[in-house]
């Protein structure tokens, strides 16, 4: 897992090339595959050697496990997409907190981001509450009007 961290840059997404991401995605979909099986995928239009080299690179980055199967290897993703996302996020936060001379500064950015997110969520919730209150008030007004009209004798209407 620690080896996998080294591939992440400062961004919150793994530092993988587009083809590496495509192969990883294909392996997550299939569960496990050999290079030949990956090539059978309609979306992969590369030479056998290119796929083999890229998959080998992913293995060396610690993202895949492999077992021998005849003269080839069968590759399996080492982490689920969720696990990879979680460790990426954690590593990004760690890098963020560890960066710079003033260690409290990145933390304050994080708090600020979370506070903004919270404030947005609370604004949305408040809007929902107000809408529901208005809805209830209008319903009560209608009920009262209906009750009043039912009480009024027909000749006075």
């Amino acid at each position: 897992m620690t080896k996998a961290f080294s591939i992440f840059g400062s961004s919150s997404r793994p530092h993988l090339g587009p083809f590496e991401q495509q192969l990883l995605q294909a392996l997550w979909t299939r569960g496990s595959a050999t290079v030949r099986e990956l090539l059978a995928d309609d979306n992969i239009h590369q030479a056998y050697t290119t796929v083999m080299t890229t998959v080998d690179r992913l293995y060396k980055k610690g993202l895949l496990n492999r077992v021998e199967e005849g003269r080839a290897f069968r590759y399996t993703p080492r982490h689920t997409p969720e696990e990879l996302q979680r460790v990426t996020a954690l590593e990004s936060i760690r890098q963020l907190l560890g960066s710079g001379d003033a260690s409290s500064l990145p933390l304050s950015y994080l708090v600020e981001a979370l506070s903004t997110h919270d404030a947005q969520l609370l604004d949305e919730l408040q809007l929902l509450v107000e809408r529901k209150r208005l809805e209830l008030q209008s319903r009560e007004t209608k009920t009262r009007e209906n009750a009043a009209s039912e009480k009024t004798p027909p000749e006075q209407r």
Binding site: A119, L122, L125, Q126, V129, L136
Partner: protein, 326 residues
């Protein structure tokens, strides 16, 4: 030596049963979430499951291990016999576990008392302007409500022997009269459920991996208190509004253990649930409440089984004690 051996063996059994059951609970409690139960029932179930290892280990120790040792262990043969390495080690573990539990309880109580005393400096009993004393719940709350310092949480229930509901000045300024009333009812529901005492009991039975179960209990307890506080859609909207308003007040310091804050758990989920409040569903929930006499038949059956098989079970327990000593 006989008494010492008895104590060591009993403590060893206690710690073994406690750890085994706690490990099972820590792994298997999530299956309770699959039950289609009301929030009140879920809260009770989470609490029961959390304290089950402690209860069962105490019952097994006092109902089976101690009597089996007293009745079946030959005293005369044990004069030269030592305590045994295994019972001694496990007994020490049990003592450490009990000491740890006691220390956690005392620490939580001390910390709560210290923090609450600071919050209450210069506080005064609050006169909640209730239009009438028709509501017994509100009247009861009125006697225990204080206006606390601004750095205290917005609205919180503290203590369990003489519980108090603390309301901060900012809360009074923010909430309307109806919102405050329903929020106080929510805290009163926590008071009636003795949630602070339950939190203290959790502290007494430490085991790794129980934090998520406690957090699930806490969330379920909040939803139960919401249900108890609300009796109409108007109440539900007022409570949701109070929740959103008080969520904007950031508490200056973390609340101690023996307190139940109003703004706890997932605010989004609580507000969404309140806004979807439905009278028919609320009635069904109230009717579905478990009556205490439902547990009488299973308890009687269990007692009958234990009485019928007590002798063989004691013999079996004694054999296990012997195996533990050797």
């Amino acid at each position: 030596m006989f008494a010492l051996r008895g104590i060591a063996v009993s403590l060893a059994f206690f710690v073994l049963v406690y750890c085994l059951l706690s490990a099972v609970v820590a792994i298997a409690w999530r299956s309770l979430k699959l039950l289609h139960a009301t929030e009140r029932r879920l809260t009770d179930l989470f609490f029961a499951v959390r304290v089950l290892p402690l209860l069962v280990s105490v019952v097994v120790t006092f109902a089976f291990v101690v009597p089996s040792f007293q009745l079946l262990e030959p005293r005369s043969l044990n004069v030269e016999e030592g305590i045994g390495a295994m019972p001694l080690a496990l007994g020490i573990c049990a003592l450490l576990l009990i000491a740890c539990g006691c220390w956690r309880v005392v620490a939580a109580q001390t910390q709560t008392s210290r923090v609450v005393a600071r919050w209450l400096e210069g506080a005064h009993r609050l006169q909640v302007d209730t239009p009438a004393k028709r509501d017994a719940a509100t009247a009861k709350t009125k006697t225990v409500t204080f206006c606390s310092r601004p750095e205290a949480p917005p609205l919180t229930l503290v203590g369990f022997r003489q519980p108090k509901v603390l309301v901060s000045e900012s809360t009074l300024a923010l909430l309307t009269h109806d919102e405050l009333q329903v929020a106080l009812k929510h805290e009163l529901a926590h008071m009636q459920s003795r949630d602070n005492l339950k939190k203290l009991i959790f502290r007494f039975c430490p085991f790794p991996g129980m934090a998520k179960l406690e957090s699930a209990w806490s969330q379920a307890a909040e939803l139960t208190a919401d249900d108890a506080a609300v009796s109409s859609l108007n109440d539900a909207i007022d409570l949701a509004a109070a929740l959103v308003k008080l969520s904007r007040l950031v508490p200056v310091e973390t609340a101690p253990v023996c307190t139940v804050g109003f703004v706890t758990g997932s605010i989004g989920a609580r507000v969404a649930r309140l806004l979807a409040w439905n009278e028919a569903e609320a009635d069904a929930t109230r009717q579905a409440r478990m009556r205490p006499w439902y547990v009488i038949p299973p308890v009687l059956m269990a007692l009958l089984c234990v009485t019928a098989t007590y002798g063989p079970v004691l013999a079996l327990t004694h054999e296990m004690t012997e195996w533990l000593v050797r």
